[in-house]
C-alpha cells in the first residue's frame, strides 16, 4: 500500500567530497596537551544506570557480616571469582578473569562523596557534574572539556549507543554527537539522482556560509559538521566485528571499538547500560546484567588488542551510587552510598585499591566512602591531557591507578 520506507535505504558506495573545512582534530589536541602520547589516549566511560549493587559485583567474600546481612542474595565463597584474600568478582563476570590475570583490571573500592544523597536523581547529578553544591546542574564534568568531531581544542567526544546526551556531557562548547547506531547517519536518497551526486548537491546547498547570516549561518556550520560526521562514520562499520555479545551493551562497545579503530580522533566515548535499580528480585536480573557487561567488556578488550589500540584506551565503569548492605524483604536492595569503580585497559595498574572496613561497623547500614570519585576523574583527565581543574572544581588527590 505505501511506498518506500526508510528501511529501504539506498546507500552510496562513494564517500562524499569534503570541502576541506576542518583541520585534523588530533593535531590540535596534541598541541594543547603537554604530555607526549596523550594525543592518542581514549577514555571510554561506561555508566551503569540505576545504582549498581557494588557489594554483589566486587564481593567481600571473606566478611561474615556480608553473608549475614544478605541471606538470599549473598554470593557464596565457593562461587566467587577470588581476586584477593578479601574480595572477588561475581561469577557472572567470569569473562573478566583473563583481563584480571593480565593485570589490566583495576578495582577501586568504596568510591563516593561525603554526605551521600540517596535521591537517585540528586546522586546522579553529583556524579555527572562533579559538584556537590546547590548550583543548578547545567554542565557535566566532561561537558566542560568536550566537543564534537574536529572541535579543535576541546576533547572530541561522542555518545555511543543511544541518542540521548547524559548530563555528564551537557554544556559542551560544540555539539557532541550522539551516535545511536551507524544507521542514524546514513544520508537517504530521494530517488532521482545517484546517491553521491545528491550528496554533492546537498553539500553545496546546505553548508556554505557565504551569503548567510544569523541563524541560517549557524545552521550551515552545523550542517558542515553533520556531513563530516556522516562521512567519517560511513567509512567504518561496513563489516560488523564478530565476537561481541548480542545486546545493547555489546553493540555499543562494538561501535565504540569501530570508532576508535577508524582513527576519527575521538578521545572520550560515553556508553550506558541500564536496569540496575534492583529493588526487588535482584537475583532475577542482576546476574544477567553483569554477564552482559562482563562479556561485552572482555570482547571490547580483545577487539582493541586485535586493532592495535590496546595501549591507549582506558575504560571506566561506574554507577551513580551503591546499594545498602542489608537486603530488603523483596529479595532486592535499596539505594545506598559507596560503590566500587572498575578500570580496564593496558594503561591501568591492575589490582584492588581503596578499602572498605568490616561491614559490621558500617555507618547507617551503608558502605562507607574511602575514595572521592572526583579523585578518579582528575586522575583520568590528567591522563587525557585535559584541564582537570576546569572540569572538576576543588582540590583532589591523584590516584596511582594508571601505569
Amino acid at each position: 500500500m505505501s511506498g518506500l520506507t526508510r528501511r529501504d535505504l539506498i546507500r552510496s558506495a562513494a564517500a562524499m567530497q569534503m570541502l576541506g573545512l576542518l583541520p585534523g582534530s588530533a593535531l590540535r589536541a596534541a598541541a594543547l596537551a603537554g604530555v607526549p602520547g596523550a594525543a592518542e589516549t581514549v577514555l571510554v566511560v561506561v555508566q551503569l544506570s540505576g545504582g549498581n549493587d557494588g557489594l554483589n559485583t566486587v564481593v567481600p567474600w571473606a566478611d561474615d557480616a556480608y553473608h549475614r546481612a544478605r541471606p538470599v542474595l549473598s554470593v557464596s565463597p565457593g562461587a566467587v571469582l577470588k581476586l584477593t584474600d578479601h574480595v572477588g568478582l561475581h561469577p557472572a563476570l567470569a569473562a573478566l578473569q583473563p583481563v584480571w590475570e593480565e593485570g589490566d583490571l583495576g578495582v577501586v573500592q568504596g568510591v563516593g562523596y561525603p554526605d551521600p544523597n540517596r535521591s537517585h536523581f540528586r546522586s546522579m547529578e553529583i556524579w555527572h557534574t562533579a559538584r556537590t553544591d546547590d548550583a543548578p546542574p547545567t554542565r557535566g564534568w566532561l561537558g566542560e572539556v568536550a566537543g564534537g568531531f574536529g572541535s579543535g581544542g576541546a576533547l572530541p567526544t561522542a555518545r555511543v549507543g543511544a541518542r540521548d546526551l547524559p548530563l555528564a556531557l551537557a554544556g559542551a562548547p560544540s555539539q557532541v554527537p550522539a551516535i545511536g547506531s551507524l544507521g542514524d547517519f546514513v544520508i537517504e536518497s530521494s530517488g532521482g539522482l545517484s546517491a553521491s551526486s545528491e550528496r554533492q548537491l546537498l553539500s553545496t546547498a546546505c553548508t556554505r556560509t557565504e551569503g548567510r547570516s544569523g541563524e541560517a549561518a549557524f545552521i550551515a556550520e552545523a550542517y558542515a559538521a553533520a556531513f563530516d560526521c556522516a562521512r567519517r562514520l560511513e567509512e567504518i562499520g561496513k563489516s560488523g566485528t564478530a565476537g561481541f555479545p548480542n545486546g545493547g551493551m555489546g553493540r555499543s562497545l562494538d561501535l565504540a571499538s569501530q570508532l576508535i579503530g577508524a582513527r576519527l580522533g575521538s578521545r572520550v566515548l560515553y556508553v550506558t547500560q541500564g536496569g540496575y535499580d534492583t529493588h526487588a528480585g535482584q537475583n532475577r536480573s542482576h546476574p544477567t546484567l553483569l554477564r552482559e557487561l562482563g562479556n561485552s567488556l572482555a570482547a571490547f578488550q580483545e577487539q582493541l588488542v586485535r586493532q592495535g589500540d590496546a595501549d591507549r584506551v582506558v575504560t571506566l565503569v561506574f554507577s551513580e551510587f551503591g546499594r545498602r548492605i542489608h537486603e530488603n524483604a523483596s529479595g532486592g536492595t535499596d539505594h545506598g552510598a559507596g560503590n566500587p569503580v572498575l578500570l580496564l585497559g593496558r594503561p591501568v595498574a591492575g589490582g584492588v585499591t581503596g578499602h572498605i572496613p568490616a561491614l559490621d561497623g558500617a555507618v547507617d547500614r551503608d558502605v562507607p566512602m574511602s575514595t572521592d570519585f572526583r579523585s578518579v576523574y582528575v586522575t583520568l583527565l590528567d591522563w587525557l591531557g585535559a584541564p582537570a581543574g576546569r572540569a572538576v572544581p576543588g582540590q583532589f588527590d591523584r590516584l596511582p591507578l594508571l601505569t
Partner: protein, 567 residues
C-alpha cells in the same frame, strides 16, 4: 517494405494452436539450472479463472490503459503492431530456466544476479518470422535502443541492453545472458531434443534445486514469515511451524493445475530421512486426526509436533540469539505451572496432534463490543493424562491471570475477573473484563481489550486454551456434537475465506481509518481502497494447504477455490 500490409497480415494471424507434445522444450536448456518452469499453454493460463481474475484486477488498476498508451505511441512511430508478437509468444508453450551467475573471484553461485533463459514455442513459424521483422523495425526506428546483430554458427540473434533474442523455427529464445542463448542454440543445432515430453494437463510445472536452500533454511523462511506475520512474532513460532521443511536434500518439483474455479499447486519436496528430528516428525498416529470446528471458524491450523522434544532440545533447534528469551520463557512457564518442568510436565502432556482454531467473535452476552473486532484463537489438543492435568491447568490459568491483573493494575487498567462457567456439563474457567471505564458507553470508545476473555476447559480428554470464552464454549459443544474437520499430514491449514470476509467487514471502519493514516487519503478514497480489498477477498471461497510425509517425497499441496464473480 510497406508496413501496412504487414499490419494487415498480422491481423489475420490465427491464435496459437494447442501445444505439441512431441519434443520437450526443456531439452534446449543448458545444464546447471537452479529452477525450471514449464507452461504448456500460456493462452490456457490467461483464459483460466485465475487469468481472468488477474485480467480484471489489472484492468481496474488501469494497468492496461498505461500499456495501451505505450503501445499506441509505438504504433504511431513505427506503423506496426507489437501486440501480436506478445500474444503469439506468451500464448504458446513456454519454458523458463533460471541460472545462477558465478562470481569471478569465487566459486559460490551469486544468487542475486540470476540469469534467465526462456523458450516460447508458438506453433506458427511464419507468423513469428513476420512478428520478429516488425520488432526489428521498431527497434531500428527507436534512437535510444542500442541494438547489435550477431551470429552464432550462422544463426542470427539480436542483442539490446542485457537481453538476447533469437528465432529458430517457430520458437523464440530469450535470455538475459548471451552465453545461455548460444548454449541453447547449440543444443538445437546439435539435435539435443531426445527428451520426450510427458503429457501434462495443468497450467504449469516447475522444478527447483534445494541445494540453494540447505544452509540456514530457517533463515530463509524467517524473512517471508516475518513479513507476513509482523516483526513482533518471535522466530520460535516460525521455527515450530515451518522447521524441518527442508531436512531432505535434492530437487523439489511441482505442478500448478487449474480447472474451473479451483487452482491447485502440488509440490514434492525431497523426502524426509528416517533420522529426521522427532520434534517435527514424530511417529504418525494410528487413526486419522480430526479437529473441532464451530460455525464461526475462519481458519484451522493443525500440526503434528512433539512439543516436549522440541522444547527440550531448543538449544539445537533454535538460533543462539533467541536462547536468552527462551530461557526466560522457560522460567516463566515453570513459575506459572507451580514449579513443574515445562518440557516434561506441560508440553509432555500434549499429544502430538494439535490445532489452532481461529474464530470470528460475536460478542454475545459479553460486557461490551469493542470497536476493533479481533478474531479468537484457541489451542486444542488431546491430553495424555487428563485427570492429572486438569487441576494443573486450572491452577496455572489462575496464576497467569493473577500476574496479568497485577500488571494491568499498575497501568490503571481494569482487571479480569475469574469465574467457572458451566457449559454442557463442563466447567469452563474463564476470565472476563469488568465493564467500567472504557466499555463504550457515553461516547468512550470500547477498549480493544474487550476482545479478550481468556478461557480454558478440558472436555473428553481434550484441552482447550483460548483467548475467548465464547469460542471455548462453542468448541466444547462442537466436541460433544462431533463437529470435526480432518487434519491431514504433518501440517495443514484451512481458511474459510467467507468467514474471513465477515471478520474483515466487521472492521471496515477501522480498516478505512488505518488506510487514511497510512496513505494520507481522505475518507472516501480510503473507503474505495478498502472496498477493493474486500472485493478481492470476496472472490475467494477457501484456501487450504497441507504437508504430508510420503515415502518418496514430502508432499505439499495448496488449494485455492474461487467464488463465481461473474456479473
Amino acid at each position: 517494405m510497406h508496413l501496412t500490409p504487414v499490419v494487415l497480415g498480422l491481423a489475420f494471424l490465427l491464435p496459437a494452436p494447442p501445444p505439441a507434445a512431441d519434443d520437450a522444450l526443456s531439452a534446449l536448456l543448458p545444464e546447471g539450472r537452479l529452477a525450471e518452469v514449464h507452461v504448456p499453454s500460456g493462452k490456457a493460463v490467461w483464459d483460466s479463472e485465475l487469468g481472468r481474475r488477474i485480467h480484471t484486477l489489472l484492468e481496474d488498476q488501469g494497468a492496461f490503459d498505461e500499456l495501451q498508451d505505450g503501445l499506441a505511441a509505438l504504433r504511431m512511430v513505427t506503423g506496426s503492431d507489437p501486440t501480436r508478437l506478445i500474444e503469439l509468444v506468451l500464448g504458446g508453450e513456454l519454458e523458463l530456466g533460471v541460472y545462477p551467475t558465478v562470481r569471478k573471484n569465487s566459486d559460490k553461485p551469486d544468487m542475486r544476479n540470476r540469469k534467465v533463459l526462456a523458450v516460447a514455442r508458438t506453433g506458427d513459424a511464419d507468423g513469428l518470422a513476420l512478428a520478429m521483422n516488425a520488432l526489428d523495425a521498431v527497434l531500428a526506428a527507436s534512437p535510444d535502443a542500442k541494438v547489435k546483430n550477431g551470429r552464432h554458427r550462422k544463426q542470427p540473434f539480436l542483442r539490446f541492453d542485457d537481453a538476447s533474442l533469437a528465432r529458430v523455427d517457430d520458437m523464440l529464445l530469450f535470455a538475459t545472458d548471451q552465453h545461455l542463448l548460444t548454449g541453447a542454440l547449440d543444443r538445437w543445432l546439435d539435435g539435443a531434443s531426445d527428451v520426450v515430453a510427458t503429457p501434462f494437463e495443468g497450467l504449469a510445472s516447475f522444478e527447483l534445486d534445494t541445494r540453494l536452500f540447505r544452509a540456514k533454511d530457517i533463515a530463509l523462511l524467517r524473512t517471508p514469515t516475518r513479513k507476513l506475520l509482523g516483526k513482533r512474532l518471535a522466530n520460535p513460532l516460525a521455527n515450530l511451524l515451518f522447521g524441518g521443511l527442508t531436512v531432505g536434500e535434492g530437487t523439489l518439483h511441482g505442478t500448478l493445475t487449474g480447472s474451473g474455479e479451483e487452482i491447485e499447486l502440488d509440490v514434492c519436496l525431497p523426502p524426509v530421512p528416517d533420522d529426521a528430528p522427532r520434534a517435527w516428525f514424530p511417529p504418525e498416529p494410528a487413526t486419522t486426526t480430526a479437529m473441532p470446528v464451530t460455525p464461526d471458524t475462519l481458519a484451522v491450523l493443525s500440526l503434528r509436533r512433539d512439543l516436549a522434544d522440541w522444547w527440550r532440545n531448543r538449544e539445537t533447534y533454535m538460533p543462539d540469539g533467541a536462547q536468552p528469551a527462551l530461557a526466560k520463557a522457560d522460567q516463566n512457564m515453570a513459575l506459572i505451572f507451580a514449579g513443574q518442568s515445562p518440557a516434561e510436565d506441560v508440553f509432555g502432556q500434549a499429544s502430538t496432534e494439535m490445532a489452532l482454531i481461529v474464530d470470528r467473535q460475536r460478542f454475545e452476552g459479553g460486557p461490551a463490543v469493542p470497536d476493533v473486532r479481533l478474531p479468537a484463537f484457541c489451542l486444542v489438543t488431546p491430553l495424555r493424562d487428563p485427570a492429572q492435568f486438569t487441576p494443573t491447568l486450572s491452577v496455572a490459568f489462575q496464576t497467569l491471570m493473577g500476574v496479568i491483573n497485577t500488571d494491568r493494575a499498575q497501568n490503571s487498567k481494569a482487571p479480569f475477573l475469574l469465574d467457572t462457567v458451566p457449559h454442557e456439563g463442563i466447567g469452563v474457567r474463564a476470565a472476563q473484563l469488568l465493564a467500567g471505564a472504557g466499555s463504550g458507553g457515553m461516547g468512550e470508545p470500547a477498549a480493544i481489550d474487550f476482545n479478550f476473555s481468556p478461557a480454558v476447559a478440558v472436555v473428553d480428554g481434550w484441552a482447550l486454551v483460548g483467548t475467548s470464552a465464547e469460542q471455548v464454549r462453542r468448541l466444547v459443544s462442537a466436541l460433544h456434537a462431533g463437529e470435526m474437520t480432518e487434519a491431514r499430514g504433518v501440517l495443514s491449514a484451512h481458511i474459510d475465506a467467507e468467514r474471513v470476509l465477515d471478520a474483515l467487514e466487521d472492521n471496515r471502519g477501522a480498516l478505512i481509518a488505518q488506510e487514511m493514516l497510512d496513505d494520507g487519503l481522505g475518507p472516501e478514497e480510503a473507503a474505495a481502497e478498502v472496498d477493493g480489498l474486500l472485493g478481492l477477498v470476496a472472490g475467494v471461497h477457501s484456501v487450504a494447504g497441507s504437508l504430508t510425509r510420503q515415502d518418496d517425497c514430502l508432499h505439499a499441496d495448496f488449494d485455492l477455490v474461487l467464488n463465481d464473480i461473474s456479473p
